[in-house]
């Protein structure tokens, strides 16, 4: 068994074989492997890795070359007939290699350094979604990347491409069905979202892994003229979960919303880093990240808004709200601005609060136990964020995942009178 600790170029070839690489992809992998080998692991001296220490991870625990499921919902017939594609990465490489080549690895911007090269060299699963010009897909596309084996290693890659005027909603979920306690795993994922001119993408990414997962994710979104992106990140599982989420507003009129929700208990560690990068005038970005931490869980939020000299009349907002549910839970919040244009609007805010005793008392006076009362307040804390999701089914999926994590059974779906 090969593990991450003794991984070699051989494993690159094996992965390429399993996936069924065209030559160009194999070449990309080899190049990534060279950079991977030459790059040291980041240390806590680096700003982005200050709060998440992976230096003591025993990489020998994670076996490479494990196969795990990627389950996809089916595409509407009409959209498929009009050229939309929604399939596993391996299938896309077989059926649409030229199209995939245009996007896979097109962008090598990364702040994750070695880990990003690792993903590119070993990409072993994932999916490809392509919506051609003017095609609008109404039903959410759902993909579930599953981990079931102890010590499994996953290098998923999500690619979503919306051409001009296209619309889609994608629900990208990472989950461990029936994982037993004590099972471990390592995921290093890369997500690339290309939102074309006047296209509209709702992208919901949720990880509700088992608690033994080490989860790293780097998400990169590019928005063209008048493009609209709403990208939501739901972080519930894993013992360490570190996500880097970037929205690059490349052309005038682009609008991006970044939302994040995290609930941690036990000794879970969450680290979210966001980038709202305005490269063009009249671009707008908004961001809301809400984290609730219980027990000894810890959350770090660092976010940077960048306005380049070209980004005149751009608007950017950023808000990070934290709710601490125990005396030993922690939340760090570090907003950062880098403004190089003079005519922009930029606001950011952060807060760290606790559950109010008066709220607990009020709910308890109605017969709710302290646990249910607290969980209800946590749900309430998240609800404005969940309300921003485009579909009732997605809202309920997130509510249910939060509910499952909290362990109390509170009915939350909207019921009309």
């Amino acid at each position: 068994m090969t593990t991450i600790a003794d991984i070699s170029k051989d494993n690159v070839s094996k992965t390429a074989q399993t996936v069924g690489d065209p030559a160009w992809l194999k070449a990309n992998r080899d190049a990534a492997w060279e950079r991977y080998s030459a790059t040291p692991y980041p240390t806590r001296k680096e700003e982005l890795w200050k709060y998440t220490d992976l230096s003591r991870i025993n990489w020998g625990k994670y076996a490479v070359g494990t196969t795990e499921n990627v389950v996809l919902s089916t595409l509407e017939k009409d959209a498929a007939a009009r050229g939309a594609i929604f399939c596993t990465l391996a299938d896309a490489l077989k059926k649409h290699p030229e199209l995939v080549q245009k996007y896979l690895g097109r962008n090598t911007d990364t702040v994750n350094g070695k880990y990003a090269f690792e993903n590119l060299a070993f990409t072993d699963r994932g999916f490809f979604c392509f919506v051609p010009k003017g095609v609008k897909i109404t039903t959410p596309l759902h993909v579930e990347t599953q981990s079931t084996q102890d010590g499994a290693t996953l290098f998923p890659r999500t690619i979503v491409v919306l051409e001009e005027g296209a619309e889609a909603t994608v629900f990208d979920q990472f989950t461990s069905p029936n994982a037993k306690d004590g099972v471990i795993g390592y995921t290093n994922a890369r997500v690339e979202l290309y939102v074309g001119q006047s296209a509209r993408l709702h992208y919901l990414q949720m990880q509700n892994w088992h608690n033994g997962m080490l989860h790293l994710l780097e998400q990169h979104a590019e928005l063209e003229r008048d493009a609209y992106l709403s990208a939501t990140t739901i972080s519930l599982g894993g013992h360490i979960s570190k996500s880097t989420i970037a929205a690059i507003l490349k052309a005038p009129g682009a609008v991006s919303y970044l939302f994040g929700l995290g609930y941690g208990n036990d000794k879970q560690q969450f680290d979210h880093h966001t980038m709202q990068t305005h490269l063009a005038p009249n671009t707008t970005s908004d961001l809301l990240y809400k984290m609730a931490m219980n027990d000894r869980a810890r959350s770090t939020y660092t976010g940077i808004i960048t306005m380049t000299p070209d980004a005149q009349k751009a608007d950017a907002y950023q808000s990070n709200k934290n709710l601490l549910l125990s005396k030993t839970a922690r939340a760090n919040t570090v907003p950062q601005l880098e403004i190089l244009a003079n005519d922009v609007r930029c606001t950011h805010g952060a807060s760290v609060g606790t559950v109010e005793d008066e709220q607990l008392y009020y709910l308890e006076s109605r017969g709710l136990s302290r646990e249910v009362a607290r969980d209800m307040i946590v749900h309430g804390f998240f609800e404005d964020l969940i309300g921003k999701l485009p579909e009732e089914t997605l809202k309920n999926a997130v509510r249910k995942a939060v509910n499952d994590k909290l362990g109390t059974t509170i009915e939350l779906e909207d019921i009309a009178l």
Partner: protein, 257 residues
């Protein structure tokens, strides 16, 4: 003799070391409505919240009985399940939790299981109609951005849904216009039964024209200093509390001598 529904025995309470209630005694039988009046800051809400089990209020003496059960040491949720209900003077907002889900959870806790969604919907609709509440109200977040009147209505709606044995109403009439007052009073009267007891804290005779009390008590300095029939409220309305102050001072002196 049948046992009283609700009994407060020599209740003494302090907050952060400061004594607020100085030996309150009160017995409420099933079917009775008692009004509790008194100046600001005399301890009426302290009494109501202590009865409900607010953790901030420390009971330094006395006992509380509900239907023969000593509830002095119970948690608020246990008191609620036992059949006690407090309509808050200042209801608390729970952002993000809508009225429907909140009521569903409360009802579930009381019934020990979920109510079929259909039945729940029918019950809620009916009760909301009776309180002249629009249906959109149900999907709003609990007390979040509610007007004073809306908050009080929601308290009454909760009471109607949970159907408690013993109801404490802390200034449910305050801040209501006359129409809202009527709706709220009707809500109290409609759900009143021969098995229920009510303790209604108020500053005004106004509500007592609609919700007729059997007894009226006056609180001063953390004690009930005078009790009487409905006429006592009318007297207080006319004369204020000053005459009582003198009267009780005399009484106190008399006992001291």
């Amino acid at each position: 003799m049948t046992q009283p529904l609700f009994k407060i025995e020599d209740l003494k309470v302090s907050i952060e070391g400061k004594q607020i209630l100085d030996g309150v005694n009160l017995t409420i039988n099933a079917g009775e409505i008692h009004a509790l009046m008194g100046r600001n800051g005399t301890g009426k809400s302290t009494l109501a919240n202590t009865l409900m089990g607010h953790p901030k209020y420390e009971i330094t003496g006395g006992k509380i009985w509900l239907a023969g059960q000593d509830i002095t040491e119970l948690e608020p949720e246990e008191r609620s399940i036992a059949g006690l209900f407090l309509a808050f003077q200042y209801p608390i907002a729970i952002p993000g939790v809508n009225v429907v889900n909140f009521l569903r959870a409360a009802l579930k806790a009381h019934r020990g299981g979920d109510m079929p969604i259909k039945d729940f919907r029918i019950l809620l609709k009916e009760q909301m109609n009776l309180l002249s509440m629009q249906q959109s109200f149900a999907s709003r977040y609990v007390n979040d951005g509610f007007s004073g009147g809306e908050k009080k209505r929601l308290e009454i709606l909760q009471m109607a849904m949970l159907n408690p044995k013993m109801v404490l109403l802390d200034e449910t009439d305050s801040g209501l216009d006359i129409d809202a007052l009527k709706v709220v009073a009707e809500g109290i009267n409609r759900t009143m039964t021969k098995d229920r007891g009510v303790l209604l804290v108020t500053h005004y005779q106004r509500i007592l024209d609609f919700v007729k009390p059997n007894f009226v008590h006056v609180m001063m300095n953390g004690k009930i200093v005078k009790s009487g029939g409905p006429e006592l409220a009318l007297e207080l309305e006319k004369q204020g509390y000053d005459w009582l102050g003198k009267e009780t001072k005399h009484e106190n002196q008399a006992t001291a001598n």
